[in-house]
Symmetry: C2
Subunit: 337 residues, 2 copies
DNA sequence: AGCGCGTCTGTAAGCGTTTGCAGTAGGCTC
DNA sequence: GAGCCTACTGCAAACGCTTACAGACGCGCT
């Protein structure tokens, strides 16, 4: 491995000047800068992050904490984070909080404290008091995406508003018998996203003067399969059936579309379906959805964390993330009886 | 940040002994070990990876190079890598090779050379000569998954055999008019996976004495949509139509199933469909597939790289990855005319 | 001419660990 | 009792950078 001394020797300068030239800190004459550049290039020198970070306290590395790697939403956010950070010359190290409690504990108590990262991005993690405290105690800039947390700088999408928008879209098409696939009202107290979407849904109905129908609330687990089963229940039960379904995720919405088809209902003629997310398969299924631009969420989080890193005083505040109704082919006007 | 000196003071020992006690290297009496444990625990001490890696040359961090983060296969492999490594106390830093040539160049020329990682896992990257050279020049253990590379230790799944197995499954059900959705024979010279799958398919047909029918070869881009379009072409064209389709990925197979349904063909009665991968949605669609266990691939790569790290002489050799035919509901016996 | 200032450079002291080496103590063998 | 070995410990020198500090120089000012 070639070290900074060799570059200094070849450039005929001290290591201090080489360091300054390469990092862009402090005064270096244009001539020296150029000689350093050439020498470094010639030797194929790359600064050792080990030594550099020990000496400077900066690692040029951001920790990203995610609950899942193999689910579309999270890997898409991660992809956004990654592309924004790599562009700026930062590396990213990954902390995958799994269901395993020991691993999770280890991440907060040990892994994140190894001084490997300059800052942390937490993606859609429901953090308890202790974990929030531990993140804060790192003394590093932290940005959380989703799951509002009063003590952390958070980028959130307004799930309540998202759900209301999706529901209002159905209402504006004349639907009044609208079902919701999503949170289980009995079990979702601790997990905000599904709950907020359900509440937004209910608010939209209330605003339209429609009383909530408990039979039109079907819990599901945010998978295609879950959405499929839920929709089958909603549509297959004897008695009145909904003319529209608002699913709390695109994957469930896709499941609902497939369930409707399997039961012989046409989408959107017999059933309108709207989802949330902006899933990559949405286009294929012509799914109407409220896109929350997960790739852009990742990029914004990366930008925000770098901004905090560069000027720690900046009051990053709590950012609101954009969303947009994308009307495609799975929703239509309620036919006149 | 509490340092090793404070632990040493509290334990009444030298920093050297503390270091040895915590790392488990060299002689330390049981009593000292215990005192160190307690002192470290009490102070909440965590070794600084900055200092530790500078002094020891070990980072306890593995670099993982992936071409995509937001595609199911890659994020699943990554998930496997991550869980296996975290379990062993390793961190993982991510290098996402995007389409952007500059980023790709930067990863190989700079990012990987920052001494941030002890070893590298390259997932399904088609490496050219230079890149292979650069990986080797790192002087680190490297494991590649997929894309056989004679100069690197590689874990490969035998795509040729996979494809042959899938095809033989269809043959054994009595099908002879079998179409393939996958590689474009004209453009796939540089990308081995699709090509090998096509060749395996053709070999199986040849072994069964069936002449390849160029009209039954439909290129597609490995997405659901691509599979859908390809299947529509295959089934919609006037003239003879295939009774079975072998798609080179599950996502394309799912597209094919949906296309068949949309055209009014029943699966599997009118058309059998088999895919490759073991995609998470395969179960939902009752898709017959050849599973290649991507999660396990990631875990195996992680184990292999750690094994190389621990005993560098071990001849890891070129490992073959397992695969298995999973027969579900999209394939059936060819009905007697 | 003398002064202050901005620019540039080098010297050397860290940064927080790990580890080679030397030293001690105790137990064995002869 | 000498000699050797093993188990344990501490001292201090790395590891490869960054940066505070100080010195040197040229410039414009008084």
């Amino acid at each position: 491995m070639v070290s900074i001394d060799e570059v200094a020797r070849l450039a005929g300068l001290s290591t201090a000047t080489v360091s300054r030239a390469l990092s862009g800190r402090g005064y270096v004459s244009a001539a020296s800068r150029e000689r350093v550049r050439i020498a470094a290039q010639q030797l194929g020198y790359v600064v050792s992050s080990r030594a550099s970070s020990l000496a400077s306290g900066r690692t040029r590395n951001i920790g990203v904490v995610v609950p899942f790697l193999d689910r579309w939403f999270f890997s898409t956010v991660l992809s956004g984070v990654s592309s924004a950070l790599m562009r700026r010359g930062y590396d990213i190290t990954l902390y995958n909080i799994t269901a395993d409690e020991d691993v999770r504990k280890d991440v907060f108590e040990t892994a994140l404290r190894r001084q490997r990262v300059d800052a942390v991005i937490a993606v859609a993690i429901e953090l308890d008091e202790d974990e929030t405290e531990q993140l804060l105690a790192l003394g590093l800039p932290v940005i959380a995406i989703g799951g509002p947390n009063a003590r952390l700088d958070t980028l959130t999408v307004d799930d309540f508003a998202l759900a209301r928008l999706a529901t209002e879209h159905l209402l504006s098409l004349g639907h009044t018998d609208i079902a919701h696939i999503g949170a289980n009202p009995e079990f979702d107290i601790d997990f905000h996203i599904p709950t907020n979407r359900r509440l937004g849904f209910e608010q939209a109905l209330a605003d339209a003067g429609i009383a909530p129908n408990p039979a039109y609330l079907e819990p599901a687990d945010f998978t295609v399969d879950g959405g499929y089963r839920a929709a089958k229940q909603l549509l297959g039960r004897p008695g009145p059936r909904p003319t529209a379904v608002f699913a709390a995720s695109d994957e469930m919405a896709i499941g609902a579309v497939l369930a409707a088809r399997d039961l012989g209902y046409r989408v959107p003629e017999d059933l309108s379906v709207v989802g949330i997310d902006g899933h990559e398969l949405g286009d294929f299924f012509r799914l109407t959805t409220v896109d929350q631009f997960p790739l852009a969420q990742g990029e914004r989080a990366a930008d925000a964390v770098l901004a905090k890193l560069e000027s720690s005083d900046e009051p990053t505040a709590h950012g609101e993330l954009p969303f947009e109704l994308i009307v495609r082919g799975t929703t239509a006007r309620l036919p006149k009886a």
